[in-house]
Symmetry: C2
Amino acid sequence: MEEYEDRSLRGRVFVKLRENILSGVYKENEELRELTIGEELGVSRTPVREALRQLELEGLVRIIPNKGAYVVGISQKDVKDIYKIRSMLEGLCARWATEKISEEQVTELEEIILLSKFHVGKQREAPAEQVSVLDGRFHKVLYEASDSRILEHVLSDFHKYVKLARKMSVGSGDRAEKSIEEHKEILEAIKSHDADKAERLANRHIMNVMANLHMDSDNI
Amino acid sequence: MEEYEDRSLRGRVFVKLRENILSGVYKENEELRELTIGEELGVSRTPVREALRQLELEGLVRIIPNKGAYVVGISQKDVKDIYKIRSMLEGLCARWATEKISEEQVTELEEIILLSKFHVGKQREAPAEQVSVLDGRFHKVLYEASDSRILEHVLSDFHKYVKLARKMSVGSGDRAEKSIEEHKEILEAIKSHDADKAERLANRHIMNVMANLHMDSDNI
DNA sequence: CTTTGTATAATTGTATACAATTATACATTT
DNA sequence: AAATGTATAATTGTATACAATTATACAAAG
């Protein structure tokens, strides 16, 4: 669904606006004028309008008819809530994946873990970025393995949210290694068909990620 | 966020299209042409386009750039998945509500239960409709009581989904009475500050609702 | 000085025009 | 007859024009 997002002007405007809202470029309650944004991005009002309507549905923008579009943004508490909700749903996802995962997907997850260990080992050339990408891929495969497009959809949304918001926070120290270790444990539980354990581990994994974030500023 | 949906043309088109997709008027993979829909609803392409872009974000429509918009719809399995996910999240919602609910909200819930009993009692003049509205209000207050706009947002979305899809299925017999009884038990648990119990009851409540649905046809 | 009314400007809502892309029909070639 | 190329039509993508609504400035009244 999202693969085509960057091809159209609307898609690019949508991605750019979401990024600017989540990263704090646009502040809470700031008014987003269609013409102004269009001029900033070099497009007309039409794609801007469409992007704003989509952002409204995502809850990042509040539109008051005939009046304007206003940034909603997400607070520190929102991020925490998302992690708690995600924790539950990632658990459910791991449970369903245990029942539905294919051989190919298991292999894919093993490859991702292998690559993650490799990249986190050599602590040079932007390791965080590479490891972050692999983390995203790990969870994405898990979502697909759950064989539930509904669950996949909602988890992907949340994942995008926190991925962007996370850039503001700083994950500390040796968290990356521990995270990969947890991925490995989750996969082991899935492979041994222990759905309860997989759910519990996935659950805790997300809570650990959250606990590692230092969320000091009020707005993310 | 949704209160203004019906005032603008876009809002009306959006609601109408979603209704037609979820109720099966538009079939799976059917192409939705902007001009055609605009003519059907008596509007130009612009509001139709905006509505389609929103539906894409909701996952009900798949848009292929420069090609068209196609109905995705939801399957029987999707509905079941939504209920399972909702079950978990309504549990979490009840837990948080236990910690955060206000006196006014408790009163509001008590009123809704009282009214529900009244309406289910006199089995005349479209009782199902009235009881359904009250059911919606009960859960809405609970969402607000959780004091988490994120959880409220995702649960509201799911609730809308199944509310529309449910019309296709047939809830049987004396389910309404039992449902109200369950609402009452959840509220009692919340009032006695027993978060574990509230979560467990809310959990089971949604699963009971699902179990009561007769989902025979392949597409809902 | 504050309030209220009104004219003006700014902004959004919708429709339409034009450009770019894709689908279709049909002739041409093999 | 099947495959391919090309012209045409249909559809979407974007920009712009116009209408409706809301905000702003400022004068007049109290």
